[in-house]
Symmetry: C2
Subunit: 199 residues, 2 copies
Amino acid sequence: MSYLKEKILKDGIVLNNDVLKVDSFLNHQIDPTVMKESSNEFIEYFKDKEITKVMTIEASGIAPAIRVASQLDVPMLFAKKTEPSTLSNEDQYETNVHSFTKNKTSRVLVSKKYLAPDDKVLIIDDFLANGEAALGLIDLVEQAEAEVAGVGICVEKSFQPGRAKLEEKGIDIFSICRIASLENNAVTFVEEATANEEY
Amino acid sequence: MSYLKEKILKDGIVLNNDVLKVDSFLNHQIDPTVMKESSNEFIEYFKDKEITKVMTIEASGIAPAIRVASQLDVPMLFAKKTEPSTLSNEDQYETNVHSFTKNKTSRVLVSKKYLAPDDKVLIIDDFLANGEAALGLIDLVEQAEAEVAGVGICVEKSFQPGRAKLEEKGIDIFSICRIASLENNAVTFVEEATANEEY
């Protein structure tokens, strides 16, 4: 079992059927071993993809993304969230990302200077739920006519539609933890749910 | 000369007498070698301080902070910026941080769970200018009755008052690059400015 899964079972807090709180080790306080082990898993999965850049969105994607970028020895680029009202700027690629958790739409920007058509971009984020952040990042990469080499996720809520939306676009997704359900105040991972169905 | 200084001389863009743009390697796109070499310098300076936690503020402090925390094998905690209007929460320490660049005051929060009186906290940030972010983080650490072991900064604008404000509080500050001036469209580091005065 991956270290992140063990940590989720030990320290994750199921707030309700939709929300898993992991702020003691993943997105507020960050555990160095979770970062190290997660990065190793991402590298193992994506190592043959000739990644030229790792990309994420501020703020909680930055820690896992910089670790992966450092191990691959490529630059990391984080997209910035800003107010929808800010003036457009022709030096930037822009997209909108809606957060269902915060019920808020952010404008998300990257400088055109840092994405080129020959880039093979690995997108890393802490969570995949409705897929809005990942789809926004993919949109930015596609505006630059660069290639999305894959999407690496720490915690996927597989009972929400994010993965299906990315698969529809033909994206290669690797999630360290796939959560099938948070019902009955417990975390059930996808493998276990499948195993239970089989027996 | 540190790798970060070389990178500033090579790729930093002096926008005006106050603003140095480093978004190609430090706070938008992030260079893995800058992170590695900077982290090594922070560790070398603070290695005997028995650090138990590295702390920063989202978003651009996260990359250097997580690298230092990983090398020290301690948790990293990043303070979150939020709107001043959000309701207070007794589970959080709060402070206000004013950004002169953005002309905006943010409420900055950390969960009380992740700072304890026996913590020795190393604060890491990408920039030190007016000192507002560092002072806000110090305030949060002090609210928890924990100890500020030091402040590590990638780029200090030494012609602005941040360092003096921290020194007044008796804080141990280590900045990888100390910029004496951005005048005449050029970066002058403090050592050079001092050397020029001496000869």
